[in-house]
Symmetry: C3
Amino acid sequence: MKSFRKELWFNVPRRRGFINITSQVEEALRESGVSEGLILVNAMHITASVFINDDESGLHADYDEWLERLAPHAPTSQYRHNLTGEDNADAHMKRQVMGREVVVAVTGGKLDFGPWEQIFYGEFDGRRQKRVLVKIIGE
Amino acid sequence: MKSFRKELWFNVPRRRGFINITSQVEEALRESGVSEGLILVNAMHITASVFINDDESGLHADYDEWLERLAPHAPTSQYRHNLTGEDNADAHMKRQVMGREVVVAVTGGKLDFGPWEQIFYGEFDGRRQKRVLVKIIGE
Amino acid sequence: MKSFRKELWFNVPRRRGFINITSQVEEALRESGVSEGLILVNAMHITASVFINDDESGLHADYDEWLERLAPHAPTSQYRHNLTGEDNADAHMKRQVMGREVVVAVTGGKLDFGPWEQIFYGEFDGRRQKRVLVKIIGE
């Protein structure tokens, strides 16, 4: 069994944003030399997500509005977590809706994807360096 | 290490619906010959889910109503994604709540499940052929 | 390839609660002898979650309130599932928001975590014995 590990770094300049990281994950897969197996891609921070969906800017704007409706950022005083000096309680909730991680099949050395599947980093508390872990096992 | 791949096809006749796919996943597991490992089951489309919960029709009706409340289909004009000519922005949201994939332990050649766990395909934009991927690794 | 399986048991004395299970998962990992691979941790019950987030009590209170707002327990008559004699339909929804499972990379014999990542059992219908499955594959 082979195993491979790589960290990807991101710095989203605003509080929230979505970055298509598919090509970076594909590059890690090529580096790994794994042709059959599983690939785990997860946010290493608890106010960010990794998820699979469509690369369409209108949808991303919809996601942002929808997540704000489900877990509004303001007023920050509505959350007990923010009494610790943070203002990011909403980000911990948005991340649960969108998910921490994806697991993707590796077949024939490629991400085994449907036609529209793309991997995104979802940032809900940005403006600083944050990491995504790529772990690949197989042979 | 063994690896095995199979696609399952579904055509839900309405926009939304839930299908119990546990027996089809178990059949794939038998075909794989894997007795210890992990099984990934994921929607290959971005407006559908694979999730694990209870096979109870009342609960499925509750899920449907609840997801409509969290991310209503109409008016379709409320979503920017629908400006692309689609009317399925809500389906992209419902799928994030219910999840893209499940990973299940394989022990002794069987799905290592609690008493009520069943695997479902969740369709949020149906009336066409769509796929689920089953990938199994182990030995 | 090595594989390892362990069940963890919990009995949350109230309907809802969050338990940090990171050290128990780490102990299972040590017992497994796996140094490179993947670890799956999943609720074996369909009204409970396993998720990764922050070990901060204010955040947990925020999660509890937020999930009650997204899927209220009462009135129990609002859910068709409860016509079966259950009163836990809301728990089946809360569990979908928080997720059934996490998959964590194992690197150098340790959980390959970011600085704040901790694993939680999320109970939404407690006051009885319930199980979490830990499955580890690798070498």
